[in-house]
């Protein structure tokens, strides 16, 4: 039988390898908060030609109206041509937006600029949303742990299962943050409400996987009582491995992959974050949650430093 748990420290190292780079990026650059949480305006304008005006002149128009810290990017529209300007600026109202558009039409001699998207979030609501979002994540995590502790109340150390599920969940949250951090550097990703939705979904589904693995341990511990816990847990993991692979890789991940590849620009970031996050959820139930249960059962932290001494 596959010995997964025997290699548990390699898997812990692998997790760190995925988590650390993104977190370092986030620590240096700060969280790439979108206007949903930081406040501000995104204006996406589609021009009738690919002959887009120079960035400086666009910024100039904003500056004249008193808006500083303006970022301008070009993007390709549905037709595949780079005829779109995406402009980020501090919060502006409808009136200011119309003035921006009409000034551009006038100054760049363009007949008709189409507003594809105009998102404007005031600072007050942004602060409220951020607070409530943090609360939502915390409440979701807590509710799930309470539920696991309750669902596993019949077996010894039910609380441990809850705590291990939390640790694995934090692992998944960190993976999601890390991939977003990496994405923010490579593809300009931002943390918006969709990011939050993806994060909360990962939290919910991450627990699903843990429950399936824990449930097998719960069931096996009833009639494999004499087996050492490590063997028992390993046995349970291997038994559920096929299901985990089939459910996660073959169905959910395929769906998300299709969504990421063909689902249009709006959903791409969302789909990729879910893809990685849900994969991490499956990974962490097998390679993080269950191994930590074993580490806890064996109280391995007592030997951590001794091992180091021996090898030194």
């Amino acid at each position: 039988m596959l010995d997964i748990l025997g290699k548990r420290y390699y898997f812990f190292a692998l997790s760190l390898l995925v988590i650390l780079p993104g977190l370092i990026i986030l620590a240096i650059n700060g969280l790439p908060l979108a206007i949903d949480f930081s406040g501000g305006t995104i204006l996406e304008l589609q021009f009738p030609t690919t002959n887009l005006p120079p960035t400086e002149e666009v910024v100039q128009i904003y500056n004249e109206m008193g808006f500083r810290e303006v970022q301008v990017q070009t993007a390709a529209g549905p037709s595949g041509q780079r005829d779109i300007l995406v402009i980020r600026s501090p919060f502006m109202d409808e009136e200011a937006k119309n003035k921006v558009v009409s000034t551009m039409e006038e100054r760049f001699g363009v007949e008709q600029i189409t507003v594809n998207r105009f998102d404007s979030v005031g600072p007050v609501i942004a602060a409220q949303v951020t607070n409530r979002a943090a609360l939502a994540v915390a409440v979701a995590a807590l509710a799930v742990v309470l539920y696991i502790t309750y669902a596993f109340r019949g077996i010894p150390h039910a609380f441990r299962y809850g705590v291990c599920a939390i640790i694995a969940m934090i692992h998944d949250i960190l993976v999601v943050f890390s991939i977003t951090g990496i994405g923010s550097v490579l593809w300009g990703w931002q943390m918006d409400s969709l990011f939050l939705t993806a994060l909360l979904t990962v939290i919910g589904f991450s627990t699903q996987d843990k429950i399936v693995v824990f449930d097998r341990i719960r069931e096996n511990s009833a009639f494999l009582r004499k087996l050492p816990f490590e063997k028992l847990a390993n046995h349970s993991i291997v038994q559920t491995l096929q299901r985990s692979i089939n459910t996660q890789l073959m169905t959910v991940e395929f769906m998300l992959l299709a969504l990421a590849l063909f689902g249009g620009v709006t959903l791409r970031e969302f789909a990729v974050i879910l893809l990685v996050g849900l994969f991490s959820g499956t990974y962490s139930s097998i390679f993080v949650a269950a191994p930590i249960l074993v580490v806890w059962e064996n109280k391995e932290w007592r030997t951590w430093f001794r091992k180091q001494n021996a090898s030194a």
Partner: protein
């Protein structure tokens, strides 16, 4: 045997009903006075449109009733202005969310309707005030002012009557063909007006909207019929929007624009088509995988997956659930959990078959053993959906709400299809195969 047949009939009835509801041109249900349209409701991100979030300034005290009234007034006003399908909803304690499907440039809509619309008739004595002057009034103060008094650079005057005292409002054309707003006071207010105009002939009655002067006419003679017109250099639009504001009452609270989101209609259409294609591709791959890997049970799972998709979509139409992009994603994701239940059961089934059980025993055991983990994991998903839904409703983040709702519905329906539909169909299929125990290849073993 008998029970299975009954189950099959139930499944077929639900299936037929779902297909009927899913039909693109469903006429809807009409029984007596009960009428229900069955239409797919697309969210703003798919059909294009504008979402505006209005909030009450932090220094203003507000009750839930105020907020609800304000939302109703806003909706009435925009309907009266001919903007169709606008919905205003309260969210949380200080927020109103307005959604304008199809609109992309609704400045002319949102600005007039979010005006408080507090009309006041103010006694400015011997001084006419130029239009646009900002003043203060004693309306709503515990003590009326007897003399105009200066405060913070503005002058506070006495209010005689307000927009609340009006019986009717209309737009008329004056002698010079200019637009005017005709007003009529209700009887009690008419008497007060008559009394005041009698005593103040030659003085100025200033008409003020939201503390800004519209006009400052002189009282030429006592007005006895309680009727009058407001002149203020109106255009057709501005006269009409003032009339609408007055007709549906002033807002109990001032509102600021906090957030505007405009999604162009082409972008929405593009996203809808692309995500539908993505969904179909995803579905096809997943169904192929199930059939190849699990053989007969996999094929049955595919049937119940189709059943699941049709039923869920029918429920979306019946409730109706507003479909947004994240909503579609939530739906696709919930197909994952629909299959998860099946996969959990089939893996168990295979294990039990390998352990030498008969098919019937294996099916029963498989279902019974897989149930606790199916139950617990789905409850965890429902908990998360609930929290997402709460988060979404508190902020008018309708797409988060849409995602949570479709995910939760999907989870519930998937439980039903896995535990009822797959099981019944699988039982029927296996009964029609002779000695299935001797043909393990049917189960992908």
């Amino acid at each position: 045997m008998n029970r299975r047949l009954v189950n099959l009939i139930v499944i077929l009835i639900i299936f037929a009903l779902a297909v009927w509801i899913d039909l693109p041109n469903n006429p809807g249900i009409k029984i007596g006075s009960f009428e229900k349209k069955l239409e797919t409701v697309l969210g703003l991100d798919l059909r294009g449109g504008m979402q505006v979030i209005l909030s009450v300034p932090p220094e203003i005290a507000v009750t839930q009733q105020n907020l609800q009234d304000a939302a109703t007034i806003l909706e009435n006003r925009s309907n009266a202005l001919g903007v169709s399908e606008v919905v205003f909803q309260t969210a949380g304690e200080r927020i109103i969310v307005g959604e304008f499907p199809g609109a992309t440039d609704a400045e002319e809509v949102i600005n007039p309707i979010r005006q408080v619309g507090q009309l006041e008739f103010v006694d400015t004595g011997n001084t006419p005030l130029p239009p646009g002057t900002e003043i203060l009034t004693d309306f709503g103060l515990p003590e009326p002012v007897t003399q105009p008094t200066e405060e913070d650079g503005k002058i506070r005057y006495h209010t005689i009557l307000t927009g609340k005292d009006l019986k009717s409002v209309g737009v008329v054309r004056g002698q010079l063909n200019e637009y005017e707003v005709a007003i009529e006071f209700n009887p009690e207010a008419g008497k007060i007006f008559e009394e005041w105009t009698t005593q103040n002939v030659g003085k100025y009655l200033t008409i003020v909207l939201d503390k800004k002067v519209i006009s400052s006419p002189v009282i030429e003679q006592p007005i006895k019929d309680g009727q009058g017109v407001i002149r203020g250099g109106f255009t057709a639009e501005s006269a009409n929007s003032l009339a609408v504001q007055l007709r549906y009452g002033s807002l109990p609270i001032p509102l600021n624009i906090e957030q505007i989101r405009v999604i162009g209609p082409t972008l929405g259409q593009d996203s809808l088509e692309k995500s539908l294609i993505a969904g179909l591709i995803g579905f096809a791959i997943v169904m192929l995988f199930m059939a190849i890997y699990y053989r007969v049970p996999g094929f049955v799972a595919d049937l119940s997956l189709i059943f699941y998709a049709l039923l869920t979509f029918a429920i979306f139409k019946a409730i109706p659930v507003t479909l947004t992009l994240p909503g579609i994603a939530g739906f696709l994701l919930s197909t994952g959990s629909a299959l998860d239940a099946n996969i959990l059961i089939f893996e168990r089934l295979k294990e039990e078959l390998r352990n030498g059980r008969t098919i019937r025993q294996a099916i029963d055991l498989g279902w019974r053993r897989a149930w606790p983990s199916i139950r617990d994991s789905n409850i965890a998903a429902l908990i998360t959906s609930g929290i997402l839904f709460w988060f979404g409703s508190a902020f008018g983040a309708s797409f988060v709400k849409g995602f949570a709702l479709t995910l939760a519905l999907g989870v519930v329906v998937s439980l039903f299809t896995a535990l009822f539909v797959t099981r019944t169909l699988l039982g029927l299929f296996l009964e029609s195969i002779k000695e299935p125990e001797k043909r393990p290849e049917l189960f992908g073993i």
